[in-house]
Amino acid sequence: MSATVRSDEPAAAAAAQRDAFFRLADAVSGALRAGEEFLLRCSGEDSDFVRLNHGRVRQAGAVRQRRLSLQLVADGRSATVACDAGGGDDSDRERLLGLVSGLRVQLAHLPADPHLLFSREALTSSRIEPGRLPDPASAIDRLITLADGLDLVGIWASGLVHRGLATSAGTRAWHSVGTFNLDWSCYHTGDKAVKCAYAGTSWNESVLAARLSEARRTLPVLARSPQRLSPGAYRAYLAPAALDDLLGMCSWGGFSCKAQRTRSGPLLRLHDGAERLHPAVTLTEDHAGGLSPGFTDAGFAKPASVPLITAGSPAGSLVGARSAREFALVPNCAHEAPESLRMDAGDLPAETALHRLGTGLWISNVWYCNFSDRSACRITGMTRFACLWIENGEPVAPLAVMRFDDTIYRLLGANLEALTCEREHVLEAGTYGGRGLGSSLLPGALVGEIALTL
């Protein structure tokens, strides 16, 4: 039996949420005094979460949340307050109008904000894409059946995620997308496991079955005695998920306009011209190809893409509204970190990556990365999950976890040998505060050396 796919109901629910949000914005408009402007934002979700351990359900439930953020602007001053809300009914309207009064009081105590910037153009958009999501309980039943005998642990998250923006200038923008994200591991023993993910907007049970079968095929390799390596330099293949974590570290200020201008970002020496990345490295913020809204919190439409690194050299940065005002630039993002990072593909067929690696490490995932030396973009982290020791192009043994400590300029610069032709679309599984809409499109990377230290 396959899980039932639901579609019409969520679309209608999302449209109702949008209409209710716009009515709240109309109510705020009606309460404005002369010289006042506002931006009203909505962030919400209707999610189901199922946590699994040992192939059983550990915790199962649902979260329905609506968060409104109201920014009142007058005389170059700005004050913002956020609150949780219900479904956009009378009580929400009363609460919101009450907050307007509080903001007026606060504005009187705040100085003018020289970096305040928001759009005064009316933007109208409505994107409602509920996807083809399964009934979550049915999907979990199928997962448990398909994973029979496996020590499976992980999280199911599904449902609609909403973002909205309305302004006194007339902007009425709404964004609802339905996604599912199953992020799990199949354990052999101890810390030896195969990490898997199946995420998207259109559910296909056969894909889940195929990924579980692939995990079953890999598990016997993990049963072998682990390879214990001494610190030193090793050839390595970094799978897209591992590369995602490394580029995530670079994104911690590396592409931020503000971080670059204050010389606090990790790619400082790249932007100064003192370091370079390999000519095969081209990175773009692909707004059009991601799941996040096409508008920013400040009411600006995002460009389709923003070049960040082209052929190993810096090509641009992500400029938020405040930085745009401070440094006299044009805003091009909601937050100064990539939400939809795209890396150009290389010329290495993925099916030949093991052969090209020869003898070395197959790094499926890395874990808990951080900077050893931020100015030098030197990153440390651990191998995790099904990282394998490869000899002559063949998997020999799982790797006893090892610490790496190397600079991005070596890993994606002098020591980069190839990027794969194929790329993986990695959808963010993060749910801090709410389900994220980030994604990345990345190849795998073959590197001549990675430094292992512990």
Binding site: S47, H54, G61, A79, L99
Partner: protein
């Protein structure tokens, strides 16, 4: 307000074996001044509920910010549906899970509530502090800020239990970035200084008065040589001890990790159930307590979010591992004693095992004595980098600030100080623990864990500690 919500739910609650409702209201404010410019002030009024339903042997939850009768009824129905749909596939049965008892209240003490401080006064203080940070041309970015929140919660059940609590968090911070060419160095204060209480805690920390020192040290680091790479003795000040305790004692002792719940995300643990009662975690000098009763620490409370009364417990006693960090549900699953630490970050997440206040108990040495007994070593403070494997064993930590120790005396400043080790052996090299006078209370508001993800505040108090023969190294050069 929370009582009214609870009564509203009681009227529409589903027919089931048992239900609980945890209502949470949080008011928060964050004010930051960067380079003399007041950044957008963030205020928030959060309000929502978590409904948990036991039915047919299963358990389901539903959280909602729709607090009208229909919204609450819908949450009850959804929780009931999840309980029924997963009853036959649940890892943990309804009977294993705790059911809060009795009626009680707990309120964090406060002398000067942050809500009473006029925002104009706070902005004036932060602006002055910011000006003190910009005292060198090499300072290229600088800021000062204060984050604070007050959280009210009410846990009620179908059995008539009712536990009301009010907790408070306050966290002042400042920082300066200095730059010369391709080298930038940051010094900060307060990233790990969250406390419970009000503005009296800010005064006790004395954060604003240290702005000039912080800026001077950032500039000093630019001129300092890179930290040498060799094995040497290591003295960690309480700020860095916060991170060391958190990552290599706190997380590995969490019982839900030991039971495997976190293996897909935060990780497992090198600690196994059979180790409790006999495993030598550290030297005889290492005694670690779980203490939710130290009221200035940020994770003090009267009851955890499953309603268990909180009390002090020793986790490591004179080096021997004695007790894990596990709430009632984990205790029932593991057959081990534990602690009252089932905690949820907000109304929209279920409770899981978390650290609360986790402290290293004081020893007998002064800081001066700890340093005086080092021939060749280094003193480190203020964490800036943290990385540890998913079993919480192999770690590498970095600090903002370090000074070499030569023949028992503090010597020159070095930059990019890092050290690495293995939890299972590192604590056995502990050979000096500072006395009660050197103990400092710290805390972090942002410990991440759980699926779905949760970020929560935890407290750590520690004196300075000395470790022998540690691998120390510097930056890329």
């Amino acid at each position: 307000m929370l009582d009214a919500i609870a009564e509203r739910f009681r009227a529409v609650a589903p027919a089931c074996d048992f239900w609980s409702l945890r209502a949470v209201a949080r008011r928060s404010r964050s004010v930051n001044v960067r380079q003399g410019v007041v950044q957008p002030v963030h205020e928030a009024h959060d309000l929502g509920v978590m409904v948990t339903v036991h039915a047919a042997g299963g358990v389901g939850y539903a959280a909602t910010s729709d607090l009208g009768a229909s919204g609450l009824a819908a949450a009850g129905s959804r929780a009931l549906e999840w309980a029924r749909r997963t009853a036959s596939s649940s890892l943990v049965s309804s009977g294993q899970l705790p059911r809060p008892q009795g009626r009680a209240a707990w309120r964090a003490p406060v002398v000067m509530p942050w809500e009473a401080q006029p925002i104009g006064d706070l902005i004036a203080t932060l602006t002055a502090c910011c000006a003190s940070l910009k005292r060198h041309d090499a300072i290229v970015d600088w800021s000062a800020g204060l984050a604070a929140s007050t959280t009210e919660s009410l846990l009620t059940t179908s059995d008539g239990a009712a536990i009301a609590q009010t907790t408070r968090l306050i966290a002042p911070h400042l920082g300066a970035t200095a730059n010369r060419g391709g080298e930038s160095q940051e010094r900060s204060l307060g990233r790990d200084s969250a406390r419970q209480g009000g503005c009296e805690q800010v005064a006790d920390l004395g954060t604003w008065a240290q702005a000039e020192r912080v800026a001077d040290e950032a500039v000093q680091l630019l001129a300092a040589p890179d930290c040498p790479g060799k094995r040497m003795d290591l003295v960690l000040l309480p700020s860095q001890m916060t991170l060391q305790i958190h990552e290599s004692i706190g997380h590995p002792l969490e019982l839900d990790r030991i039971l495997g719940d976190e293996r897909n995300y935060a990780g497992t643990s090198f600690v196994t159930p059979d180790m409790f009662g006999s495993y030598r975690y550290g030297s005889d000098l290492l005694t670690v307590s779980f203490d939710p009763g130290d009221v200035s620490e940020v994770a003090s409370y009267g009851f955890d979010d499953d309603g268990a009364p909180a009390r002090r417990e020793l986790l490591i006693d004179r080096g021997v591992l004695v007790r894990p960090l596990g709430g009632a549900a984990s205790q029932a699953r593991a057959g081990l004693p534990g602690t009252a630490n089932a905690r949820a970050c907000d109304w929209n997440r279920p409770a899981i095992d978390r650290m609360a206040n986790l402290n290293v108990e004081p020893g007998t040495d002064t800081l001066e004595t700890l340093i005086a007994q080092v021939e060749n070593g280094i003193l480190m403070d203020a964490n800036r980098s943290w990385s540890i494997d998913d079993s919480r064993n192999k770690f590498q930590f970095g600090c903002e600030w370090a000074r070499l120790i030569v023949d028992g005396r503090l010597a020159g400043v070095v930059r990019n100080p890092n050290y690495r080790g293995v939890s299972a052996t590192f604590w056995r090299s502990l050979d000096g623990v500072g006395d009660a006078a050197s103990r400092r209370v710290h805390g972090t508001p942002n410990c991440g864990k759980g699926e779905p993800n949760q970020v929560i505040a935890v407290g750590h108090a520690s004196p300075p500690c000395r470790f022998r023969d540690v691998e120390v190294f510097g930056g890329a050069g």
